[in-house]
Structures are given as C-alpha cells and as structure tokens.
Amino acid sequence: YSFFTGQPRWRKQALTYVFSPENQLSDEVKAVFSRAFDRWSTVIPLNFSQTDSVYTADIRIAFFSGDHGDGEPFDGVLGTLAHAFSPQNGRLHLDDDEHWVMTGDVRTSKLTSAVDLESVAVHEIGHLLGLGHSSVEESIMYPSISSRTRKVELATDDIEGIQTLYGSNPNFNGSSAQSVQERETGSGSGSG
C-alpha cells in the first residue's frame, strides 16, 4: 500500500457524500456506491452517509465525459476509467462513456468493454480516503483492472494501509469480505 505525499487523511469520522444532481443517477447506481463505502467502513472507524446537499457534502461523486475542467480529461470507452483526489478534497470522477455494469457476473458479459462499477468505486474511494496505488495485484488499490472483471473485496494490503491511517473498526473481525457478504445476503446481524 502507499499514501499520498504527507499522508493526508480525514479528521472526522462521519463523512457525507453527494451525487452530482446533473447525472440524475438511479437508485441502483447509488446502491452500488453505498456497498462500496460499506466495504471500507467495515474495516475502519469511519462511516459514510448520503446527503442531497452539494454544498456541505465531504465527498462529491460525478460522471463526466471527456474534458471536465480538472485538467484530467476522460478518454472514452476503456483507457482511464475514473480518478479521485486525496483527502480532504473529496472529488470522485468517473468516465461517463464507459459501459458500467451494476449487478451480475460481469465476467460472463458478451460486451468486451463492460466494466464493473462497484470494483472501480471501491478503488476510487480508497484514493478519497488517502491510499495511493499498490503493486500487490490482488489488492483493490492495484492501478489497473481489465474489463469484465470484478474485484471488490479488500485485500490484506488494502486493510493494512487504510488502518495505518485511521485505525481499525472496533467491530472488524479480520474478514471484511465476510462482513459485507453477510450484509448483502441479509444474514448479518443488521446492527449496522
């Protein structure tokens, strides 16, 4: 794992995020990001909640095509998929031209350019929280991901890195994948 220069991190534990109103995202898309945030909050003592206030949100999520004013234009289908800024900037941008798949086994897609949205969301949230790229191929923070690939579970490298910045969630039992999976299948305790 790696950090941004100076190891910037958030100084509060309750962070809010907002989706760009211009994107008019569906509840299904928003649910993908909710799951992605959950994967990180399972292992660190931070929690994330959605807000409708663009002005007060800590994290702002938006889909853009091409040049969108931050000096890092997107390049159409595939190539660069998304980018995010270090704490406490809070901007997470995704390429609107990608073929984002929200549910299902993306590996079986006939569309060779299909990209799993949750996989990219989990990676970019890692940047928002202060992680840089990792050389560990199994990690979420590895820089590249092939199309038709799903990688959403935090690896040991990711967990060690993020817990170096924020410490461990007191409820973390050492298996983030299990915790999130339990919640998705409704077999968890439901205590949140």
Binding site: S2, V77, A84, V101, M102, K110, G132, P143, S144
Partner: protein
C-alpha cells in the same frame, strides 16, 4: 452508459462496441532501444501521464530513448512484470489495460515497488554524462 445487469446490454451495442484508446500501443510491441518507431511519442505521453517520465520533459520524439527505457523498467517493476526495459508482449498487454487515471508516481515519489528501498532496480537507472 449504465446497465443494471448483463441482460440489459442492447444487442446493437454488442455489435458496434468500440475499442480501447490504447489498443494502438499493441503495434509497438517488439520495438527496440536506440531505434525510431511511429507512435513512441504517444507512448511517452502515456508514461508521463502516469508519472513515469518527468513533467519537465516535453516535445517527445518517436525515438526509443533512455527516458522511455527507464520508464519501462520502472513500470515493469511496479506491476511485477519482468524488468527488461523492452516493449515485450507482456508489458504492452499490460499497458493497454483499463486503469485508474491517478498517477502511479507523484513528483517522482511512489510507494509502489519501484519506490521501495533495497529494490533491485537501482542498477537499472539510466546514467547521464555531460554532452
């Protein structure tokens, strides 16, 4: 373009799927140091974008020069590829993969493999002489 599930992808899109903007780099596989190939300048821009060539450099040529070779070695090390400094198939196939737009190296600094101490790449850094 959002697809709630795989069955929601229209047949029309499956027939007319567009390619990766970096597919062009596939043509550069096998290029050798010291020679010149159309498109290498574009590859240098790619490596500069992700931090492997300093931002202070510009006006890239299509020459397979020391800067490109050094960038390749660092990239190969960061991605656990064979460190050859060459545009071998393994490296090119990795370069064209979709990826995050954040750079791997910021202001010359990284904690990926190439930034770790005691790495074996120190002997591969190119050397300069007065000229």
């Amino acid at each position: 373009h959002f697809f709630p599930n795989l069955t929601s992808i229209p047949e029309e899109l499956l027939k007319n799927a567009t390619g990766n903007p970096w597919d062009f780099f596939q043509q550069l596989a096998g290029c050798h140091a010291g020679e010149k190939y159309d498109g290498l300048a574009k590859l240098k821009h790619y490596f500069q974008y992700f931090g492997y060539i300093p931002n202070s450099l510009s006006n890239f040529t299509d020459d397979f020069d020391d800067y490109l070779e050094s960038a390749l070695r660092t990239y190969q090390q960061n991605f656990n590829l064979n460190v050859t400094g060459e545009l071998d198939d393994q490296t090119v196939n990795h370069v064209v993969r979709p990826r995050c737009g954040n750079p791997d190296i910021i202001n010359g600094s990284t904690s990926m493999n190439s930034g770790k101490t005691n790495n074996t790449s120190s002997s591969h850094h190119f050397h300069t002489v007065s000229h």
